[in-house]
Symmetry: none
Subunit: 146 residues, 2 copies
DNA sequence: TTTAATGTCTCTAGCTACTGTAGCTTCAAG
DNA sequence: CTTGAAGCTACAGTAGCTAGAGACATTAAA
């Protein structure tokens, strides 16, 4: 049995975060020692490690709740888990594309900068460019072009 | 001139969020109509769209403040601006590296999931498996560059 | 065995970046 | 001139933690 500190170390999660997870019902209530301190099993460590990995991959706590309940019922088809992961992947790909173009632009600025002044800064342009925009909010752009 | 609702639609930002941005000084105070309603220009739309995309990329509001001030003073000598740009660039490179490795991981999760049961689901498996845990026990925010 | 250090307990408050609510006013269409 | 959507301010609540206070528990050294 592990105390909360050891568990946190083993899973790479801070102690208050573990208590927080318990509080919001993401982790079950822990057993207590005679002195009222939380005690954790190996299974609890696995569960917490799962949570940490999922957080690192950008899953929300709600998504993780779903994944946990899915993993508690291993006989069902995994379409739901797959969908959650795919949504996450799509999100990351969007971010990668936009970050890459912002990087190019900032790089260009820094290079220009070596010479003295920043002429025609396009940082805002790059990030306000609707062609890179996943969701289409363009319906009012025609109006603004006049 | 756009009202706040039109602006929000055009930029893909909710109306209360725009007011919030003004409140914290990220956006300048808007002009007001005779009836005290906010009015926005095309320039304001660009600025807000920029903010939205930067937020989607994971920049903090403070970082966005810096980027905005960078683009607001393109004629100034570069010394200060250069530092901001370089800092943001370094930040972007860290994010890119991290996102790229997350993408690999998520892809691996999704690929083998087609039609299986949860018992064999890579999504659950990868998140549970400690041996696949490349990161030693560091905090979530820490970078992962090896 | 005493003592000091460290760990854990609960509770509360704070943080960032929003999001929603209540109760009112303004505006544009009919 | 009415009516309904959209605007206003002010304040409360959300996610996902994080930090602090003050008290009790556990452990290792003296």
């Amino acid at each position: 049995m592990l105390t909360i500190g050891k568990l946190g170390q083993a899973a790479g999660v801070k102690v208050p975060t573990i208590r927080y997870y318990e509080q919001i019902g993401l982790l079950p209530e822990a057993e207590r020692s005679a002195g009222n301190q939380r005690l954790y099993s190996r299974k609890a460590l696995d569960r917490l490690t799962f949570v940490r990995h999922a957080r690192e991959l950008g899953f929300t706590l709600d998504a993780i709740r779903d994944l946990l309940s899915l993993s508690d019922h291993p006989d069902q088809p995994c379409a739901a888990a797959d969908a959650i992961a795919k949504a996450q992947l799509a999100e990351i790909e969007k971010r990668l594309a936009r970050l890459a173009s912002l990087k190019v632009e900032l790089n260009r600025m820094v290079v220009q900068c070596a010479g003295g002044k920043i002429a025609d800064c396009r940082v805002i342009e790059v990030l306000s460019d609707h062609s890179l925009c996943a969701t289409d909010h363009r319906h009012l752009q025609d109006e603004k072009d006049h």
